[in-house]
Amino acid sequence: MTSLIRETRTYGLKEALLGGTGLRDAGRLEGFFLRLLFAIVVWRSLEFYPAYPGAPKPVGLAAWPALWEWLGWEITRLSDPAFWAQCLTWVKVALCFYVLGYGLPVALPVITLVHVAIRTLNNSQGAAHHGFQMVSLALLTQTLVVWFLALARGWIFVRKKTMPRWAAPGNWTWLWIYTIAIAAASYIISVCSKLDASKGQWLKNSPYVATQIVKTHRQNYYNSLDPQFIQGVAPATPAEADPATDRYRHPIPHSADWLGRHPDFARILFGAGFFLELLVFLAVLDRRAALFFGLGLVSLHGSIAWLMELSFPFNERTVGVFFVNAAGWIILMAKDPAWRPTRKIWLGSIILAAVLLSAHLATAASESTIAHFLDLAHHPAAIIPGLFNLPAAVKWTAVLASQTLLIAAVAVSVRSLFRRRA
């Protein structure tokens, strides 16, 4: 607060709020929006409450019996709804501090501990679930970052030195970029596992992923018996009757059937995702790289959700907040004329966004491939508006605004690359 007042007096409020934001840096106002949006993501992820009474296959923290003995406590205590409600109250208070940007060295560990503990209990049932890891890892990384910065600031204060820019309050670059780094690392880990498990043959064998598409559709059907996962068609009867199994025979999803018959196209499709995950470490280079990789990753998740009925909403949301970072782009455009789109770019962006949105809404009920691509084109822009339970009209207006901004951000990023070359 002191530094904000001092900078406001010296440079004015606009500069104090927008000043730190640049191509590779996140300033005060951008930091606030990153924390606000991520706090909503974290809170949403805590709505999934698995009240398992035991931890038969302990993993992570649950697998440290000495720790629990020392604490005189058990991780299964989280399955008590009253205690969980208490935990959520602590998290709520800590998230308020987190959003405001005060007391982070204490607030972040509280949020991290509760988030990691409840998901550890969930994963200690003998069945690992990978939908929340990125949020936990992001929280853990942010805890390490704020602890490091607190130590560095303390050291500089004790030595009575001038605070360098990298450690100055209001500089949220490290929180932003290290969260991108840990998210990128988790995608690269997945690539390493693919190469290891397949002995380097993943790309060659990737057409067999089509069989997994059939499996995930079947699993989704048996989760809820929702006929949409078996194309709404009653079980097919084979030429030779087999009463023991006929009732379970369902049509093959069109996408799996098509990919199975076009293995080379399957290799190109799955290969694109593979290389995107492999090269995602480049997202830490600057805001443009983060945007391009962020759009790619969100589209990758959208494609997987479409093909396999397998979604990772919290991965998408984390990538949407930190990689795509629409708020950061608005601030950069407002602050720096070099990053401001021209009128032509704005006009082109809004026309393109409006055309895409109209086409999407017109084909929303369709199951055609073009309708899926139009849906996919809105996926990155719909992530942040999707965090809120907005009425349809407000939601689609927000999506249109986000889409316009993202198209303009891509345009100015591409323009900047050519400008630099010249």
Binding site: Q133, I182, Y222
Partner: protein, 164 residues
């Protein structure tokens, strides 16, 4: 052309060091996180994210629950868990038995042992459904579906793994 004296080079070197330092630490952090996760494996929040890591032509299996007549039951609504979770639980038990008994291939696990493990998983699932107040029917069956892929496309087979 300016002279390449040490004092002229110093600011440039400093700039390079500052920019390089940022990426060096980011790369070191990512490298450490990757190495640590791959070594640690499945220990939340760390994971080696093994999903769909080894696509191959072998049959792919999945599990589901039915009533005594073999009519499918909605797994999530009645147990709170998903059909993939049924499979993961069963695989965890089978793998544990396999590691303890030096049997690395699940199909080599003796049938009576496998039957005991699948029955235990089914019993646990039934108990869990009662605990959450959405009890499964009195008689439940656990089925395994297998998807085979060949020159002529896909076909499926089914095996009743356990019943209570």
């Amino acid at each position: 052309m300016p002279a390449l004296t040490p004092s002229a080079l110093l600011p440039a070197a400093r700039r390079l060091w500052l920019a390089g330092g940022r990426y060096f630490w980011l790369a070191a952090f990512m490298g450490a996180a990757i190495q640590f996760s791959l070594k640690t494996g499945e220990h939340y929040p760390f994971s080696h994210f093994p999903m769909y890591g080894n696509p191959n032509p072998r049959p792919v299996d999945y599990y589901f629950l039915t009533d005594a007549e073999g009519q499918p039951l909605p797994v999530v609504e009645l147990t709170g868990d998903t059909a993939p979770k049924l499979k993961k639980r069963l695989n965890t038990e089978l793998n544990e038995w396999g590691f303890a008994n030096d049997t690395r291939v699940k199909s080599e696990i003796p049938l009576d042992i496998r039957a005991g493990i699948t029955k235990a998983i089914l019993d646990d699932t039934v108990a869990q459904s009662k605990h959450r107040g959405t009890p499964l029917p009195d008689q439940v069956q656990l089925w395994r579906g297998e998807i085979h892929v060949g020159e002529d496309g896909y076909h499926e087979t089914f095996v009743k793994e356990a019943e209570n």
